[in-house]
């Protein structure tokens, strides 16, 4: 069975529940569904923030996420895959990103979701700016995220 990933890059919020249900509804071949929701926190490094503003590179964002979705589908026996990434202004408590993986087996579902999140963090062309009382500033990338991505590269 060929599995197609659902990929959406959008300004609007999304409903995690609906996306999970959409993958597994009326199917009896799925044994495990893993979802990851990335949510806007109300503070960065201890400082309260008013919002995150996400800039992205239209066209490349889709291409890059699709490339990694295809890699995940090739590496793990997935039966469903949904990736949603928002851009624009996002308030604390709101969703930023969602990855849902479905598989007959739990380790495939867990690993594929983690792989995709690590790649989204370091390779998807999105940039976060934080808005706070002190103005706005770009959030810096962390080495920690690069290290997380590197572990998926086969030696």
């Amino acid at each position: 069975m060929t599995v197609a990933a659902t990929i959406r890059i959008q300004e609007a919020d999304f409903d995690v529940a609906q996306e999970i249900a959409g993958l597994s509804k009326d199917r009896t071949d799925i044994g495990a569904v893993v979802s990851f929701s990335g949510i806007c926190r109300g503070s960065e490094q201890g400082e309260p923030i008013a919002a995150l503003v996400l800039e992205h590179y239209p066209g490349m964002a889709e291409a890059e996420i699709e490339r990694h979705a295809d890699e995940a589908l090739a590496r793990w026996p997935l039966q469903g895959l949904t990736i949603i990434h928002r851009f624009g202004r996002i308030a604390p408590g709101e969703n930023i990103v969602l990855v849902v993986t479905a598989s007959a087996h739990r380790h495939a579902a867990f690993e594929a979701a983690e792989f995709l999140m690590d790649y989204l963090k370091t390779n998807a062309p999105f940039w976060k700016r934080e808005e706070s009382r002190r103005g706005t500033s770009w959030i810096e990338a962390t080495d920690h995220d690069d290290a997380a991505t590197a572990r998926w590269t086969k030696p």
Binding site: H56, Y57, M60, A63, E64, A124, P125, W127, D145
Partner: protein, 83 residues
């Protein structure tokens, strides 16, 4: 060729995109960064730490030694912070 800038690279240069025609001896992405940096203060500021700058040719990540010949769109931006 079209050049695009994102995040603080865009802010420092003061524009999101432009069309440039670099001379023939500008062959790699690294060469292009050097050539752009010489165009003025805003460019020099945006590219002051070339090792931090990431680049993409036609929507695919590339390294500084990638050849730019045939590229339709080249983009420069800081390390990504999505997800």
């Amino acid at each position: 060729m079209k050049v695009k800038y994102f995040a603080w690279v865009r802010e420092r240069i003061g524009k999101a995109e432009e069309t440039v025609e670099p001379p023939a001896d500008v062959r790699t992405v690294g060469d292009l960064i050097g050539w752009l940096s010489a165009r003025g203060e805003t460019y020099a500021y945006a590219f002051e730490k070339p090792k931090v700058i990431r680049a993409a040719i036609d929507h695919a990540h590339v390294k500084a030694d990638a050849m730019i010949a045939g590229a339709r769109e080249i983009a420069f931006f800081p390390p990504m912070t999505g997800g």
